[in-house]
Symmetry: C2
Subunit: 464 residues, 2 copies
């Protein structure tokens, strides 16, 4: 028994930097690779969780990766493949010997195979489907017929269900006599004669209730059914909002077709966040840290190109006031301050709006109140910074007029920042465009153009 | 039975905007409030999940909120309080009549009461603790002795455990005879005689195994123990990384003191993401959409103040080149382009770095490779945009020299952007400062200063 317990994959205690792969472990593993000592490598990798092995493979370079995988040989675990970043997965699969790959894939649950196959190029996907047993391959191919990023791709096909008229004893006997239960399940789903799910009973409740109690009398208070075509982001939202542990998935006829569990929903929530945070910074579809320079350059390029166009547009505004700048060079010195403050205030409003849209806190019921608040916040902060900059302007360049001008421009631009930072993401959302993706460029264009125009325009009127 | 099933809180189907509270429902609810029809209000709110009622309270204004809560009366559900944003929670609690509050709080699990009390001001917290039964109050007060944002605050105190030498039959009999099981539990935790957790058995495995099977032979392969003082962000990371459903929490003597379940970890993951995304935009500790203008203004102010200082600093750089600008006004027109492109490229690198640090993908093993990649990406994109801007410069202002200058400045600034965007967050992280919080200001200062200095400095050398 003691031995069996030791077989547990224990994740090492790493107090200072919890859960960061420590450099010494990585060094020991690479030493094993360097001296081609397979037993030593297995000994080092065996206690690691597949997710940690995947992280390790992502963190070393391509040359070391190939050597490690070749030395790892048939001990390679299929779960490592599902944990790997997509960008590295194809590389790793192409290194694995066919028989190692086949064995690794056969160990996996159907939803993990779907997750693996859907991102691969066709040749590799076909190779993986080929090694599956017929019944498993059918399940995987069925799942692949659902749209990408839908509940259908996320769900497990294996469901533990019971007729709604059963009692606790019948359900317990059924489960104890089942041969082929899913690895992980937390509820028994009650279904009506048409296979429509009508309630969930937790295993804990089932085990602690008397045998003659009707299942329908101990269903969970919160019960949530997910349509198979629902977007996976909405699925993740529902799990987080309603504290679901697992939820039945139904087809268009409301028939039970699968179940989604919270661990998959949590992974989706994490991916959606990653997408939001990167898109807000103008980094779309970032692969992974181990991507090559050329791939990363291509990914970063489009957003920078958009920014160049908007920056040139802002410069055209400045160009209208060349005469004013030629007379008062201080304008050129001060103008970036107005634009920069507007850009920052706009980004603040924008980010709050994008996040609130993602968490469904910003809705038709409160959108006008939100916009009004952000504009007022822009106004108040604008007035404060107008006073500060007015004083700075006077002290730096003498003469109160320049102070008035920069102060007034500051107020105008920060009010516009609050307005653009809220209205633009809301409008993009209504048009079906992800506000995280495109809002940034629009908002900073507005604050740049308004900032330069208000400051230089007022200066031309007042000072010349 | 049919009736019991109907009692389930079913979340309405809302296909187009899944999970957004629909405006008509909000309108009906507010109509009930307007005509003070308590039965109608109860009828509308009864089918809603507490999380949705909390969202509703957050989305209406303070005046409506007070009227709704007063009309809602003793039907008010304690779970609504735990779902509310902190900023509104105190307001709602102060509106609730003492006997309604008492009843609402007594329904809650101990970890929810902890979650509720820890953010309240002292008077309200004491009032809530007072209405609890003695045993519950002791549990809550014990939890409050653990540091904020630690595993100790997050865990449930009620654990289902079994001695490691039991077999399946003993565990099942024990559970079936327990009076006071937690509402939700998914594992039986095996403990040694000193109460050290040594393994988890899922309820599904327990139910499907023969009675004479030893528990220790059916423990889960992945087993993860959480120290009670661990930061909640690391707890959430562990759940996501290792696909945990629940994990035992141990004190400094490795004794089992509680259990954390994945739904709480998912909520933490969501909060941590919110914090990251807002901090990157210079919005720290945002309350909620329903905060007043004055509170929001105060929260946004510090970051804008920092930005003003850095913007003035960048302006001081420009001021050094007043003579050059006075001679060639085109410099003033073009200089924001160089700074803007650098700022965007820097934000891209920075965001990728901050995210990679948060997901523990950027470590000592690959940090130099990452920095090198980002610098090279800056170089390649810099060269491309240098060529573009060089041509634009020539076409716009004639003369190739201005094109050379802006192209060279572009390359310099985008390389610096890649360098600053990676080195600054990594250094802040090593110094124990959240890189999401402070990196933005530093990186844009670098790209502004370098952008203006490189462009104007080169121009002064080449063109004058």
């Amino acid at each position: 028994m003691a031995e069996e317990l030791q077989d547990i994959e224990e994740t090492a205690e790493r107090d200072e930097d919890a859960y960061v792969l420590d450099r010494q472990a990585v060094a020991r593993i690479m030493y094993a690779v360097d001296i081609s000592d397979q037993a030593l490598l297995w000994g080092e990798l065996d206690p690691l969780h597949p997710a940690d092995i995947a992280d390790l493979l992502e963190q070393i370079n391509a040359f070391d990766r190939r050597r490690l995988i070749e030395l790892y040989g048939h001990e390679f675990d299929g779960d490592v493949l599902t944990e790997l970043d997509e960008s590295i997965r194809e590389e790793v699969i192409s290194i694995l010997r066919p028989e190692v790959l086949a064995e690794a894939v056969r160990e996996l649950e159907s939803d993990d195979v779907v997750d693996l196959v859907e991102d691969l190029e066709e040749g590799q996907a076909a190779a993986i489907l080929e090694v599956l047993e017929d019944s498993d391959r059918t399940l995987v191919e069925q799942s692949l017929t659902y749209p990408e990023y839908s509940a259908g791709r996320l769900m497990q096909r294996e469901v533990v269900m019971a007729p709604e008229h059963w009692n606790v004893g019948e359900a317990i006997d059924f489960i104890r006599n089942q041969e082929d239960l899913p690895d992980q399940f937390y509820h028994v789903t009650l279904v009506d004669p048409r296979l429509k799910p009508v309630g969930n009973v937790t295993l804990g409740k089932l085990m602690s209730s008397r045998r003659e109690v009707m299942l329908s009398s101990i269903v969970e208070e919160t019960f949530h059914v997910i349509p198979v075509a629902q977007d996976e982001g909405d699925v993740a939202y529902a799990f987080n909002q309603y504290h679901l542990i697992s939820a039945p998935v139904v087809d268009e006829n409301e028939r039970l077709v699968g179940v989604i569990t919270i661990d998959d929903a949590m992974a989706v929530l994490d991916e959606e966040h990653e997408e939001d945070i990167l898109r807000l910074a103008g980094v779309s579809e970032e692969g992974s840290l181990s991507d090559r320079v050329i791939d990363t350059t291509k990914r970063r390029f489009p957003w920078l190109a958009v920014n160049l166009v908007t920056a040139i547009f802002a410069s055209l505004v400045i160009a209208q006031f060349e005469a004013a700048i030629a007379q008062i060079v201080a304008l050129a010195v001060l103008m970036p301050i107005v634009a920069s403050m507007g850009g920052n205030a706009g980004t603040q409003s924008l980010t709050v709006a994008v996040r609130a849209i993602a968490t469904k806190d910003l809705t038709g019921s409160n959108v006008w109140r939100f916009i009004r608040r952000e504009v007022l916040v822009g106004l108040v902060n604008g007035v404060i910074f107008a006073v500060v900059m007015g004083i700075v302007g006077v002290l730096w360049f003498g003469g109160p007029e320049l102070g008035y001008v920069i102060g007034a421009a500051m107020v105008i631009n920060m009010v516009m920042a609050g307005l653009a930072g809220t209205v633009i993401p809301v409008m993009l959302e209504r048009m079906g465009i992800d506000p995280a993706l495109a809002s940034g460029a629009f908002v900073t264009t507005v604050t740049d153009v308004v900032g330069f125009f208000a400051f230089l325009g007022l200066a031309a009127m007042v000072l010349l």
